[in-house]
């Protein structure tokens, strides 16, 4: 039997095959589906139109409004109403309405819905985040979502895998966000088109699950079908006592002699804080090359960097200082929000002159709660800096780590966080 990568093994298992190779097609059984307020309501309508009333398994679906929640206007309120009505009617086990709702890719792992070895899909491109748990996880559109909700099965072409070996150890002030921005800078926004991005190497051993999720979250920004990191003790500890429903899972690992499309090595000990310039996540520069560029807003949040660790890092820098520009902090889930409050981080943000919002995607996608005007520049901990992403088509987004966003907030211009750590 030919040797396989972790991605190939998971898809082979889900497709009921002993072995697969890149290019093969499988009809994979889906273990978990993520549904949110933008792409799920249309899927629900499609199912209705086609007279399909069935939900394949109400325990394998997690639903949360996040993009425009709390509803930003009448139209989004209608979307939420459709989502809510459906989730209640179908008695979806894991429905997180407002109060429990959070940014989907932070919420599902936190609430224990992501298990290693499983196939997880979601109506959102950053569904690749869950690969940090040794799962195959990818984003799809509304029609695929509708089909998966009804049948629990979707076709996949087995992607070839690219291996990224993360060597060394990150220096203080440098984070996993800087690692993934460097990877995307090297290979480009379509450098991993249709392929799996597998991250391995000693640097991962010093990264928490939160930090790892920041890496897999951005696999799609290199065009990847999925990002994946193998299971280890850090994964195990995170999952222990957290999983909802089924608590057992199967761990897969890549065979030592599995075939890869390519192998890249990154020496993490040499990395510096990175900033991706408009309008592509691949336009990375080291902070040394760009410090001093004036900003209008700093945004700390999203499924990439709105977790408790991120807020702690930002607070560490903002403590006892004042921000020079509009600074918006968005804890990604209610649990993170409460934790940040209990740890006194809100006091730090308040004293520094930041505004803290409820969990929402909000401004990350140019929805609301921090939209940019014409010509404005925002240093942001999000994952995408396309034209118009956070507001006016002539506004600009600079992607960076929470530390860099916080340091830049203090100076009002792109700043090296290492001076503050």
């Amino acid at each position: 039997m030919s040797k396989m990568t972790i991605t190939e093994k998971i898809l082979a298992r889900a497709g009921g095959k002993a072995s697969v190779k890149p290019g093969d097609l499988v009809n994979a059984k889906i273990d978990m589906i993520m549904c949110h307020d933008v792409t799920t309501p249309p899927a629900i309508s499609m199912l209705k139109e086609h007279g399909i009333d069935k939900v394949f398994d109400r325990e394998k679906i997690a639903v949360t409004p996040d993009h425009f929640q709390p509803a930003k206007d009448i139209k989004s309120a209608e979307l939420h109403k459709r989502l809510d009505t459906w989730a209640r009617e179908k008695d979806i086990t894991y429905y997180y309405p407002i109060g429990k709702a959070g940014v989907c890719h932070a919420l599902l792992p936190e609430q224990g819905h992501i298990r290693p070895g499983e196939v997880i899909i979601g109506g959102d491109s950053h569904t690749c985040t869950y690969g940090a748990f040794g799962a195959f996880s990818t984003g799809i559109g509304s029609t695929d979502l509708a089909a998966a909700i009804a049948t629990g099965v979707l076709w996949f072409k087995i992607p070839a895998s690219m291996k990224f070996v993360l060597n060394g150890k990150l220096r203080p002030g440098v984070y996993s966000k800087d690692v993934i921005l460097e990877v995307i800078r090297r290979i480009g926004t379509d450098g991993a088109l249709y392929r799996a991005m597998e991250f391995v190497g000693p640097a991962l051993k010093t990264m928490s699950m939160e930090a790892r999720m920041t890496i897999t979250n951005m696999a799609i920004e290199a065009g990847g079908k999925n990002g994946i990191i193998g299971f280890d003790d850090i994964t195990k500890d995170y999952l222990s006592g957290r999983l909802k429903g089924k608590t057992e899972y199967t761990v897969f690992e890549s065979d030592a002699d599995a075939e890869y499309f390519s192998t890249d090595e990154i020496d993490c000990s040499r990395l510096e804080p990175m900033v991706a310039f408009p309008h592509l996540p691949s336009n990375g520069k080291t902070i040394g090359e760009c410090a001093g560029l004036a900003m209008d807003q700093s945004y700390i949040g999203s499924c990439t960097n709105g977790r408790i660790e991120d807020l702690r890092v930002a607070a560490q820098i903002l403590k006892g200082r004042e921000v020079a520009i509009r600074t918006i902090v968005v804890p990604a889930t209610p649990v993170i929000w409460k934790q940040a409050m209990d740890e006194g981080l809100f006091d730090v943000f308040y004293a520094a002159g930041c505004v803290v919002s409820a969990p929402t995607c909000g401004a990350c996608l140019g929805g609301f709660m921090g939209i940019l005007a014409e010509g404005e520049k925002c240093v942001s901990t999000t994952n995408r800096n396309f034209v118009g992403r956070m507001g006016h088509p002539k506004s600009e987004v600079y992607l960076a780590s929470p530390a860099t966003a916080a340091a830049s907030a203090v100076e009002g211009k792109l700043a090296d966080p290492r001076k503050y750590i």
Partner: protein, 160 residues
């Protein structure tokens, strides 16, 4: 007469095709009004039913919003020809019964305003303006079957 609208651009993303500020609805007619808005604000005005968008690499990258495909279908765009497509957009096209036409070097073989005729059966494009026949990469059979049925959900129903 299908006219080509050529954008010599790679990585045209879904935020340019349909900006997120319009995602608070999934109404196709509404989405169609803003098709390609952040790439070319005048697109909807000049696009006639059946007209064709021509682009470089990685068309449709970014968000998984199928709204991008719906806005293109809603604006009555006849086809999109690109050197390559981003994965989720490509899949969404097939699922919506919209044939994504992959053709290397398209932006150099087709000029803005050229009149095109697509022969899906033979996998060719007749560039009437330049009097040339161009070949494109045909969809794999399983995807073709979905497109023929008019989309994934119709396909699933037909299989039952």
């Amino acid at each position: 007469m299908a006219k080509a609208h050529v954008y010599k651009r790679d990585h045209v993303n879904t935020d340019e095709i349909i900006p997120a500020r319009y995602l608070n609805t999934d109404d196709t007619a509404e989405l169609a009004k803003h098709c390609m808005e952040d790439l070319d604000g005048g697109f909807v005005k000049k696009c006639r039913p059946g007209d064709i968008i021509v682009c470089g690499d990685d068309f449709g990258c970014g968000s998984s919003r199928e709204h991008a495909v719906w806005s293109i279908q809603g604006a009555k765009v006849g086809a999109v020809i690109a050197h390559s497509f981003a994965r989720i957009f490509y899949r969404n096209c097939i699922n919506c019964g919209f044939y994504p036409i992959e053709m290397p070097d398209a932006v150099n073989k087709i000029n803005d305003g050229d009149e095109l005729e697509i022969d899906y059966k033979n996998g060719t494009i007749n560039n009437k303006t330049q009097k040339k026949t161009l070949k494109f990469n045909a969809l794999p059979d399983f995807a073709l079957a979905i497109v023929h049925d008019g989309g994934l959900l119709e396909h699933i129903k037909n299989q039952k």
